[in-house]
């Protein structure tokens, strides 16, 4: 018996291979561009269909794909639907951005992006921990090349190696955790974790292994070293994908595994360890960001701050914090993507990222200034933007359960405001510097469109949070 979902699944994979062959054989710039846009458009339509027909049947899971009774392949639930939405939104914008600015080896750039989108798409919807791990590791290859080949400066090789080895080294922990779960629990399906009974010691070990395994992706303090390097050296699109999508894998993995495998009393033991690391990385990276002068590095550190705020909510209280954390993930994906696009646009014009050289852009680039202003303020979680909703949910739940942790978290909010305002005042409102006389072109239509799409969703989710909160019941983890 072949279901419609199965046909859709096979068709999509065939379409992917068809697109790869098409790109491999074509030499024309326009054809490649069109193929890339069509692929991301198809993914967008697919996710749109998922959202439109979304329906909580079959145990909180919209779409199950089974090859037979034992072999489940795909399961799309609330969390994966949200992350799929983010994926399908970011990638067409990346293709559009490439259209404007990539000159070197455009064909391979597009090819790698398509492979990345395919892998990320399936990574969020597979139902098996081992396959999730495979796809998660397979992302290394395109990202390594993306940083190394199209990176901007001489230090890019260093950054690519750091990215590669941090991920590989953390994946050792994941691999051992996976084999522990398999030998002690007997199954690797995400659905089976909630029925699985493991003894307390194994639960503790698995919790710690998976926390530190995914901590390199989030990233948490001692394992965050690769992130600023990779962000600074990667091309704009690379750092957008890195910040908006790849950092989410850590969160996604933790939600899927740690909460289901570990009992609440085990979580109670583990919570202080995790919270300590989160707090350290939060305050540390916020303080680091204040002292940076490279724009991309500032954004990289600020994304570390936001991800760790989300982790705080995730670990402190199960009730509201998890919803807030998920909300913060989505909003961070939108906002950090928009910020990296902004910095990329500046970099293409002036070929510099040191913000001390900029000044007074509001007089010559008013459109850019407006967009940048809105995005920076939403990064400071101004009320009315989606970041605000996420943070307020997290801090309310922190207020009930961990007052001291909340104080530390609020300190980071202040520090974020400090460097955001510093960047804003320097770039937009300062006096005009000599550097800027040469390339003063305001945003073109396509660039405006690119930023507008992101800002539209930032404001939409800020003003109408129930659009997402309706999806995010507490039960979404357990697929009740």
């Amino acid at each position: 018996m072949v279901s419609i979902e199965f046909v859709l699944f096979v068709c999509f994979i065939a379409f992917f291979f068809f697109v790869c062959v098409l790109i491999g054989s074509s030499t024309n710039y326009n054809n490649i561009l069109i193929v890339g846009l069509v692929f991301s458009g198809v993914v967008l339509v697919l996710v749109g269909l998922f959202v439109y027909f979304y329906d909580k049947v079959q145990g909180g899971c919209y779409l199950y794909l089974r090859l037979n009774d034992n072999l489940r392949v795909i399961c799309i639930d609330d969390l994966s639907l949200l992350l799929l939405f983010l994926t399908s939104l970011i990638f067409p914008l990346c293709f559009l951005y490439n259209l404007l600015y990539v000159k070197f080896a455009f064909k391979y750039y597009t090819f790698l992006l398509i492979v990345l989108e395919f892998l990320i798409f399936f990574c969020f919807i597979v139902d098996n921990l081992l396959i999730f791990y495979f796809l998660f590791e397979a992302l290394l290859f395109p990202m390594f090349l993306l940083i190394g080949l199209w990176g901007s400066r001489g230090r890019k090789i260093h950054a690519a190696f750091q990215f590669f080895f941090f991920t590989i080294a953390s994946s050792i922990l994941l691999l051992i955790g996976i084999s522990l779960i398999y030998y002690k629990g007997g199954s690797l399906y995400f659905d089976d974790f909630k029925y699985m009974w493991l003894d307390e010691r194994t639960q503790l070990v698995v919790g710690i292994l998976f926390f530190f395994g995914f901590a390199a992706k989030i990233p948490v303090f001692p394992l965050h070293i690769w992130l600023p390097e990779a962000h600074v050296e990667a091309p704009t699109v690379g750092s957008v994908i890195l910040a908006a999508l790849l950092l989410k894998f850590g969160f996604y993995g933790m939600v899927r595994i740690i909460f289901l495998v570990c009992d609440s009393n085990v979580l109670l033991i583990l919570r202080p360890i995790f919270l300590t690391f989160c707090c350290i990385s939060l305050v540390y990276s916020a303080a680091c960001a204040v002292r940076q002068i490279d724009l991309k590095k500032i954004i990289a550190y600020s994304s570390v701050v936001h991800m760790n705020v989300a982790l705080l909510g995730f670990f402190v209280s199960f009730q509201g914090g998890l919803v807030g954390a998920t909300y913060l993930m989505i909003s961070h994906g939108l906002i950090s993507g928009a910020m990296f696009f902004c910095v990329g646009l500046l970099y293409e014009r002036f070929h510099i990222r040191n913000f001390m050289y900029f000044g007074g852009l509001v007089q010559y680039m008013p459109l850019f200034s407006v967009f940048f202003f809105i995005i920076m303020f939403s990064n400071m979680s101004l009320p009315g933007t989606c970041n605000f909703i996420g943070e307020i949910l997290v801090f309310i739940s922190l207020f009930c359960n961990g007052f001291f942790v909340m104080l530390l978290g609020l300190m980071s909010v202040v520090l974020v405001a400090v460097f955001c305002l510093a960047v804003l005042s320097r770039i937009i409102f300062y006096q005009i510097t000599g550097l800027l006389y040469s390339n003063l072109i305001d945003l073109t239509f396509v660039e405006c469109l690119l930023l507008f799409v992101l800002i539209f969703y930032i404001v939409l989710f800020g003003l109408m949070p129930n659009l997402l909160l309706g999806l995010l019941d507490v039960g979404f983890v357990f697929r009740i």
């Binding site: 491999g24 290859f141 190394g148 690519a160 590669f164 590989i168 691999l175 051992i176 030998y183």
Partner: protein, 513 residues
Amino acid sequence: MVSFITNELSCFLLIILAFLSSAILFNILIVSFNFIDAKKTFYRRQTLLNSNSFFLGFEFILKNSIRLSLFIILWFEYLLSKYFSMFGETILFLNGVSFCLSKSIFYCQSVGFCIISLFLIAVCILHIKIRAEEVVLFNLLLIFICALFCSNDFLGFMLALEGLSFILYIFASTINVMEEKRSVKQAGAKYLVLGLFSSSLLLFGLSLLYAITGLINFTDYYIYFKYIDINLEPFKGVFFISFLFIIFGFLFKLSVAPFHLWLVDIYRGIEDHITFFFAIFTKPIIILVFLFKFSFLFFVGFISSVLFFVGCCSIIFGTFGAIVQYDMKGLIAYSSISNIGYVIATISLANLQSFNVGLIYVLIYSLLIFVLFFILYHFRSLSGVGFAQNLYDYKNYFLVSSSLVFNFSILLFSLMGLPPLIGFFIKFYVLLNLISQNFIFFALFFVVLSVIGSFYYIRIIKDLFFYGNFIEVEITAYPKLSRINIVLCFFLNGLLIFMVFFSDMLLTNCWLF
């Protein structure tokens, strides 16, 4: 145990002998033709190299004849193997040398045959100029592979093994048609001496065993060690010493860590395609022979611990040795040392599943090296024949031929052991096998070492794609690649990727035992 020659078997043996002899005669005929041509064109060697379809045609016939004879033998043997029972039929020759035929022996032989035929097909496709004598030697190799797996006692085994190594010594000292390297002679002599030394170790161990027990048959030994507790024997120490000699002989031939230093020297010295033939061919064959003929060694507990220790050593030495290598052959040598360490450590666990995992590991690894051979031959060095030796020659090759470089990097990721590729799965099976035996610490240790080992592969990828300044490269200096070869590379890589879906089947079907 021993039955007399049946009608069928004698018929079969006669057929094999007839085919082999006819193939050899045919080859010698062509070789003599080739000698005449070589004499004619001796003074205009350059024009010989640049041209011409006539010689290519000759080579094609040569290589086809050997493949033809090979497949016919395989087919006959397959037909006959249907009649054999599970434990095989034994044939007694004069002087007490006995040979045995069974289904699993047939599979082992077919593994050897497949490797040779794959290698020859690749040689044909890549237009590697090899000497006509080498083709004859390949034919001879087939006989010795047959004899090696069929042999049922020490005498036949040593005869076949020595014959096989004899051909490998000649291969090692074969000099290319185009240029004469002095290093080849040196490496050939070195390989001869060291090979004889390792064989003598093996022979000494075997003769010690024979001196104590008076047995000569493998099956007899299997029964002997299965039912007799060796710790109660009066000659316990001599048993241990003989076992150690046998194992060290094999480890020397496999170049496992304490005995690995000769490998790099010899790989650097000998010709390029012979290097790859050694890397592809010798390891699976020796592992297969060791598992099939000498499985009685595992009845003694300390052998497993020695093998496990040696395997761990080999992984460490191979991994850290490869990091400082800056030429391709040294890299291949050290990579094979570390990978053979995984195999040895796995089979030292001494159960059926671990034997299977070890075998699959070594077979798939040699398949990976075969694809590496196929791809590397497209990376021509700027000066000279063969592939680019120095890793410096690979820099920025992305600008020369991007599709080839993509292929190569996928293969390197597979060798590195990155998840969706076959190279990950073989390491993963080793890991699972270790964890199922409660060797969790060693599992962690192996994974950490494989991560360290991924460094030297990722360094090649870095050089291929982005090595400093792009302006340095002169693209016009590199030769053009034909489209068909690139398509073939893609095909081979795709095959390796799709093997992932069947790797589970390979593991669960104990097809060799």
